[in-house]
Symmetry: C2
Subunit: 373 residues, 2 copies
Amino acid sequence: MVQPCPAKIGDTLDDVVTPALIVDLDAYERNLGTMAALVERAGLRLRPHAKTHKSPEIALAQMARGAVGACCQKLSEAEILAQGGVGDILIANQVVGAVKAVRAATLAQRVRLALCVDHPRNVEELSTAARTLEASIDVLVEIDVGNRRCGLPPGGSAVALAERVAAAPGLRFLGLQAYHGGAQHIRDFRERRAAVRQAAEQTLRTVEALEAAGLDCETVTGGGTGTLLHDIEAGALNELQAGSYVFMDADYGRNLAEDGTAETRFESALFVLATVMSHPNPQRAVLDAGLKALAMDSGPPLLKGVPGATYTRASDEHGVLDLERENLLAHGQRVLLIPGHCDPTVNLYDWYVGVRRGRVEQVWPVAARGALA
Amino acid sequence: MVQPCPAKIGDTLDDVVTPALIVDLDAYERNLGTMAALVERAGLRLRPHAKTHKSPEIALAQMARGAVGACCQKLSEAEILAQGGVGDILIANQVVGAVKAVRAATLAQRVRLALCVDHPRNVEELSTAARTLEASIDVLVEIDVGNRRCGLPPGGSAVALAERVAAAPGLRFLGLQAYHGGAQHIRDFRERRAAVRQAAEQTLRTVEALEAAGLDCETVTGGGTGTLLHDIEAGALNELQAGSYVFMDADYGRNLAEDGTAETRFESALFVLATVMSHPNPQRAVLDAGLKALAMDSGPPLLKGVPGATYTRASDEHGVLDLERENLLAHGQRVLLIPGHCDPTVNLYDWYVGVRRGRVEQVWPVAARGALA
């Protein structure tokens, strides 16, 4: 069920079997460096989200540039990161059910593992498993600072759950998770900053309430690529989870900076290489990359370097391009697409093809591809 | 990179690791039987589309009930079907480029292989590969009967390409592919029928033009689950490619029958099993199945058997449910989701978990998961 690698070292883009997931290694490395410098200057810890890349190789490259570890969304991702050598992992999410609690405790026997809770029943499950296996799991209480997804309201109920965690054998209260996913995609600079500031106030208020109850927050974690500067400025978080910066979605590129221009701090480093498989008339070309090759939830991909060609319609295995002029593309020609949303696009592939100056330099497995559980 | 199987034989649904892809074996088998009977009564050949299920086991089950073979969209899917014992395969799509042409010819050495063309350059590539490998590839000319994707216009240009195919060493002209994907999802019965009739007229006209040029169409293929009765009635096709019937998307269930009621010929047989991982307030529950567990291009999934609960918002790893009343769901509870679009949902999983009367009876690999190339 693992697909063969679509390229070999030294190939040109014309040799790669399409569709394929391409990493522009120069842009990727610049993104790693830009983020490392930003976070270091801010005096914060970076724990990049591996749900973007699902690759121990990339997590280790981020740690080599100063990241304190990785975070991920799923237990199965954490297990694969650990297999790949990542020793400090935060599952920035709930791990629910007795069976998964045992797996988490097993993992905590060999790596430093933290995870989030928002329900007393889950605290009990995790404590039982950790105690049974003589493991120690670090636990963050998740609060809902505007995301309207998981997490308790800021303030009192979070304190009550934190007290349960602190009292639970096998668990160690580590602090708070306060992630505002909705703020990541607010286009306007001031609106986005306002949402982050409001989330930060709620977070700081909860930290104070915890301190008043005798519970110190060693870690206050959250943030993302879309709100990076606001997260730093707002000052509530001491650990940032930004992950998308490594590749940069087309969608995040639509966020605006303070002067109203597009944010350009990070570069598009991830592409899908596709082939023009049909070109039935001068106004239409069809690519071999559709819904099974590109996540469309943040809109269709952009074409790199083909002005006048627009990806307008996807079916399972086809992408229809509208062409403004004749002779924009030829039958059999390859094009690079910038995915609207990198994370679920990466999850469709088994291999990264790393390219520099037109040649394949590295191939990496998408080791946690399909790690849903 | 292959995920561990989320279940073992004899498990109950409460034992299965979530998210997981569940097949209701009774409903699935009824769907197989209903389609076999329908197509037999119509005197047509059925070649179910394996892009839906990506499983040689399921393709062979369809053939055991009378299907003449399988069709698929990608060369890599065809290779995997062949490995799994399917000996008669149509790639209902273009296979473009010299490297893939060689792979196709290699495959044609061991199974009966047909594929589609809509460009003379592609005919040359395939002929060169087939001649070199002393293989024979069956070739259909694809015409565009309203789908506005691949394919030549009906009539003269299709005849010209068919003549090229017939003259090309290593290739055998097999007939026409005339698929109208857009018609599959027209809700209104009469509008849908009209679109299919128009497509059928164009197809029949092209068949006649080919005959006038001395080229017989052994196979005229197309159709789908959404237009099944119209395809049979319209009489242009002698081979049907319907695939979704095996599982039935929530989306196809929105097509209306002649009396204005929902089509109910086939049953939902595919589900995603998910867990309530967070339940922060009485109006909201959060599932562990989001964009990486469910294709959302045809809308969010429906919940099976939980009236008052609506899947309203997906992020990468979360699905947010709005709850109309208190106590609809409990923290840790499992729910079954009916995917809006089965094909790209299946492609996110490594395993099918086949369930009958509440117990896991079979597990099958999604063998062609990720077979994009």
